[in-house]
């Protein structure tokens, strides 16, 4: 437990954590100090001057809250007239050269300038002279488009490329109101986290070429979830919207704070994985090349299973813990061999020591927990005499060369229970559509053994069945996520002390100490 100090805000005594700056310390007890340039991941810069607060009997009497540590007995003034006037004046000055083009700005609705104008300014413009004109829609590379006129020079983006990615592509050139954020000529943003500057930008100066002009922020439903682009399990928001007469569509992923997993950021590749949730989806059953309903595809699959001499269930390292449990149980019941072969999901040498991992699957750690064997040898042995392979959303074309896959499919038929069109769906004797993770829920264990859960975010107009339902329809005994969790807690030693029905938002670290801590 961190040390506490008592201080006064507007004369009222509050107890806050010591060692933190006033913005964070006082913010933690629900009192907002307005700020634009300060960001907890980037530290205090002190340039925006919006967080100036009064310190009664202090020297100096006005200090930037971002640079001032909470101290015992401090008398912080926030609602004094002279402090309110500073907030008002700084907002006026932030806005005199701002284009105020909110109607066409992507940031509108989640813009600090808008929010603070309403809260701290609210006066009519007194600008009767020409504002400063600057450049617009500058392509900074990596999908980042910059508008210098909207920029308030808080330098969060600059500090991000200096402190977090340490690539330093951005800088502020020129002085005074000619100052502007820019890249060096011919040297665009070239790091794998560049799009975080769009989230960091408190105004609409940094926009994503992928997202800009597509949706108004206030129409988006922002559902918490877990990125499944790699084994890090970064926490995200899935921002989606069902426009009138259309389907629920995902427009972007944004990072969601989890100090124990990803901090404030996510990588650009992971951010773009939302596209696979929208596009190229398997939406119907396919039997012998013809589109069918799900029930026909299920029927066909049941027939294939009953006719097969030997069946192999191919689990995906992207299946949730619950899904894996249901498939494993079904395999035992159906007498099928089980493999988690998925070498193609691993890109050796791609990890960067920060968030990006070699393993591009979200839940390989659960293989170990459930004793699912994933080696190529094991797979080869299992399929050697098999005449039916059922892939549970495992894209075998990633792990096998085309010739090897074709050779396999000459002696064995493939059933693909999956989310996406592609090689597997087209080569399969039967393909069955299932809900993808944005439409499903479950538990994942990341590369650092942190167990996290995600809930259903998107509900399609015509929802696909989830994987556990399909397994059940094929003859599996696990009725749903709830039953799977009960079974897991009962049968898996490592989960004995974990309540899968109540996993905290930041996840549970499955190391011995952590589990005992959580259980207590």
């Amino acid at each position: 437990m961190a040390d506490k100090v008592k201080l006064f805000v507007n004369g009222q005594e509050v107890e806050v954590e010591s060692g933190k700056n006033l913005i964070d310390a006082i913010g933690a007890v629900g009192i907002e100090i307005p700020h634009l340039c300060y960001h907890p991941a980037l530290g205090a810069d002190g340039n925006c001057r919006m967080c100036l607060v009064g310190i009664e009997d202090g020297r100096p009497p006005i200090v930037p809250a971002c640079k001032t540590k909470a101290a015992e007995g401090m008398k912080v003034l926030l609602d004094a007239d002279h402090i309110k006037k500073i907030q008002h004046d700084v907002m006026e000055l932030e806005l005199i050269n701002h284009p105020i083009d909110c109607p066409i700005c992507d940031q509108a609705g989640e813009c600090k300038l808008q929010d603070y104008y309403m809260k701290y300014d609210g006066q009519k413009s007194r600008m009767t002279v020409k504002p400063v004109m600057k450049a617009k829609k500058l392509d900074f590379g990596a999908g980042v488009v910059h508008d210098q006129e909207r920029c308030i020079l808080c330098a969060r983006c600059v500090r991000f490329t200096r402190q977090i990615t340490k690539t330093g592509e951005l800088g502020i050139v020129n002085r005074t109101d000619y100052a502007r954020v820019n890249i060096f000529p011919g040297r665009p943003l070239a790091n794998r986290y560049a799009l975080n500057v769009v989230d960091l930008c408190p105004v609409g100066a940094m926009t994503s070429s992928d997202f800009r002009f597509k949706q108004r922020a206030w129409f988006l439903t922002k559902s918490p979830s877990i990125c499944q682009g790699c084994s890090k399990g970064c926490n995200i928001f899935i921002d989606h919207n069902r426009e009138k007469y259309k389907d629920d569509v995902i427009y972007r992923y944004r990072p969601r704070l989890n100090e124990k997993v990803n901090g404030y950021f996510i990588c650009d590749e992971g951010r773009m994985t939302y596209k696979a949730e929208n596009d190229n989806r398997l939406t119907t059953g396919i039997v012998s090349g013809k589109e069918t309903g799900l029930s026909e595809a299920v029927e066909a699959t049941r027939r294939l299973i009953s006719e097969a001499k030997k069946t192999v269930f191919l689990v995906s390292p992207n299946n949730t813990l619950e899904q894996m449990y249901a498939i494993k149980a079904f395999a035992a019941e159906a007498g099928a061999a089980l493999s988690g072969f998925s070498d193609g999901y691993i890109q050796e040498g791609d990890a960067d020591g920060y968030l990006i991992q070699d393993d591009k699957s979200a839940n390989r750690a659960s293989f170990e927990l459930l004793g699912i064997e994933g080696s190529k040898d094991g797979f080869d042995k299992a399929v050697a005499d098999a005449d039916l392979v059922i892939s549970f959303n495992n894209d075998l074309s990633k792990s096998l060369a085309e010739a090897d896959l074709n050779a396999l499919l000459e002696k064995a038929q493939l059933v693909y229970i999956g989310t996406s069109l592609g090689t597997c769906a087209s080569k399969a004797a039967v393909a069955l559509p299932i809900a993808s993770y944005s439409e499903d829920c479950g538990s994942l264990i990341n590369i650092d053994q942190v167990l996290q859960q995600f809930a259903v975010a998107v509900v399609k107009n015509e929802p696909a069945a989830n994987l556990i339902e399909v397994v059940q329809q094929l003859g599996g005994s696990v009725a749903g996520v709830k039953e799977a969790r009960a079974g897991l807690m009962e049968s898996v030693a490592a989960l004995k002390d974990v309540n899968l029905e109540e996993v905290p938002e930041e996840g549970i670290a499955l190391t011995d100490n952590e589990v005992s801590n959580v259980a207590a």
């Binding site: 006005i62 006037k85 109101d177 000619y178």
Partner: protein, 423 residues
Amino acid sequence: MQVQVLSARFDIPDAHKIEVAKENGAYSTLEKVFSMQPEEVIELVKSSGLRGRGGAGFPTGLKWSFLPKDIDKPVYLAVNSDESEPATFKDRYILVKDPHMLIEGIIICCYAIKSNAAYIYIRGEYTTQVKALQAAIDEAYEAGYLGDTINGRDYKLDITVHRGAGAYVCGEETALLESIEGKKGQPRSKPPFPAVEGLYGCPTIINNVQSIASLPFILTNGADAYKAYGTEKSPGTHLFGISGLVNKPGMYELPLGLPILEVIEKVAGGVRDGHKLKGIIPGGSSTPVILPDEAEDLTLDYESMAAHKTMFGSGGIVVLDDTVDMVKLVENLIYFYHHESCGQCTPCREGLGWMLKIVKKIIRGEGEVADIDLLLELCDNIEMKTVCVLSAACTMSTRSYLNKFRHEFEAYVNGGASTQTAM
């Protein structure tokens, strides 16, 4: 009225050369300094009452004593030679005419603060001065006054000259440090103060050229000899740069405490025939303007200036006569500070540009009375809300013109455009 303390060797031909300077006393006080303990040197400077000559007038010896005791980091001296405040032209004389006085002062200061490395941050435009200074430093190394031993003593000192790249704000202590470190010249938030965490994160003392150049005299002749000049609280002498519409503009060394009107009249020859004194900028462009009748009892020292709600500043006195258009002068003033704002803090970055545009609007004859009031309000809104005092330098002076010459602004607003010049 003129004295020769700092300028003692200015009139001697070739005094910038080390042999001539030595013949006339340069480096003669080093033996005495080295026989003292560093703390004794600090005490002596403290008792001399020497105040920082960069403009703020902070007691030099006291500044040195803020260095933390028992530190395991190197201590640096940064000599501020970024002389860029409009109307200030004093340090350049020292750099060209008697650079060895500065070098000797640096040795004394570094010995007192136990530093082995000094930087001279010199304004980029000072090409003549940087050549003269570097030549003198080379001579001093050659003669054994700098380097691994100083004058035969087991004490090491190196001086590095760092040229600025043309930013007024780099005269601000911490922007100066950023610039030496190779970064964009932007002031740092304080605390931490440079004496605790300065250049490269190490304790650093930053002194003006003239402050450092005053040390050889003080160490040679003692604190009392220095205090014989000036007033009790503002002792010593100062290199005053007198410019503007006077008959004999120039650089004059004077003791502090002299009546300003008498100095303008007797030293600078007074305003031109047929013209009347209209106002005085007492210490560089950032200091609030003084009206002739306010100047009656104004003397050239820190206390009298403060009592008249202005500042001693850098000793750059600008004399304004009845031909000066104060509105255009203010435009010129804001133009400068706007141009030199580092752009870091919102109020200064955005506000000074706005003020400039409003003044231009008034000059174009498109202004209203409300614009004059808006200017005054903006002065309040911007002042002291920023990391450094650059914006305050602009607003404090601008406010003084708006208040003392409001009728001239109103004349523009009311269509009576001036035929006077902006200086």
